[in-house]
Amino acid sequence: MSSAIYNFISSYNYYIIIFLMVSGLFIVVSRGNMVKKLVGLALFQTSVYILYISPGKILNGTAPILDDGYSVYSSPFPHVLILTAIVVGIATLALGLSLVIRVNEEFGTIEEDELFDNELNNE
């Protein structure tokens, strides 16, 4: 296997992370729909979860549950962190969505462009 391909494959997780990160950010930037933006945001956060978890994996290591049959374990530490991060992500998403619902009730639209033209820049 040529070293370039090896390099590529051995760090493929980072490519996934970068792809997710950039596409998430892109959605936030490019979509005017407030729900879609939140979706993009969630995607963006997901990339971080993978960023944390993937280096914790040890080849041939098993889940970090003590057992006599195994001696190599993957690191449990990133999982703990990411569990927290996921909770935070859920909270953010829930709050964001509820805000969108309220916005929709108050303004009748969730397209950001319209909202900005009509509300914020119309003084």
């Binding site: 889940a63 549950i65 569990l83 829930a94 969505l97 509820s98 619902i101 009730e105």
Partner: protein, 139 residues
């Protein structure tokens, strides 16, 4: 309400098991995979399933929204009180060793207590969020 008999009966059968599984995950959390968060989600999923099948009116009658609203802070309170107990025993905040005579025993109790707090909060917030979204616009 339509008579989705199959769904209603099967979900009625499943619901106790879902709840039971949630408790299993909850109390198994100190020495195996599991814990308050997962358990809470499972529990909440049970209630959400119930709501989907039987409708929001019946669900809110059986499981009033207020309970869940109170469960959110209650869980956090359980968490902090556990921490404060170890403080009162002269150890650091959240040091579970203080909870029993033997440190290892204390660790067990501590984890269960903490996870209980998480469990309560997660159920409360999950169901609250769900209720909030479902009841929106019907007032």
């Amino acid at each position: 309400m339509r008579l989705d008999l199959l769904l209603r009966i099967s979900s009625k059968i499943f619901l106790p098991f879902i709840i039971l599984f949630a408790f299993y995950v909850q109390f198994h959390g100190d020495f195996g995979p599991g814990g308050g968060f997962q358990a809470g989600v499972i529990f909440a999923a049970g209630i959400i399933l119930y709501t989907i099948i039987f409708g929001i009116k019946k669900a809110q009658k059986d499981f009033p929204e207020k309970i869940f609203n109170y469960m959110v802070p209650l869980g956090v309170l359980i968490f902090t009180v556990t921490g404060l107990i170890s403080l009162s025993k002269g150890l650091n905040f959240l040091d579970y060793d203080a909870l029993a005579h033997y440190p290892k025993h204390g660790q067990h109790i501590g984890i269960i207590a903490i996870e209980l707090g998480v469990f309560v909060t997660v159920i409360g917030s999950m169901v609250s969020i769900f209720y909030a979204f479902v009841t929106r616009g019907k007032k």
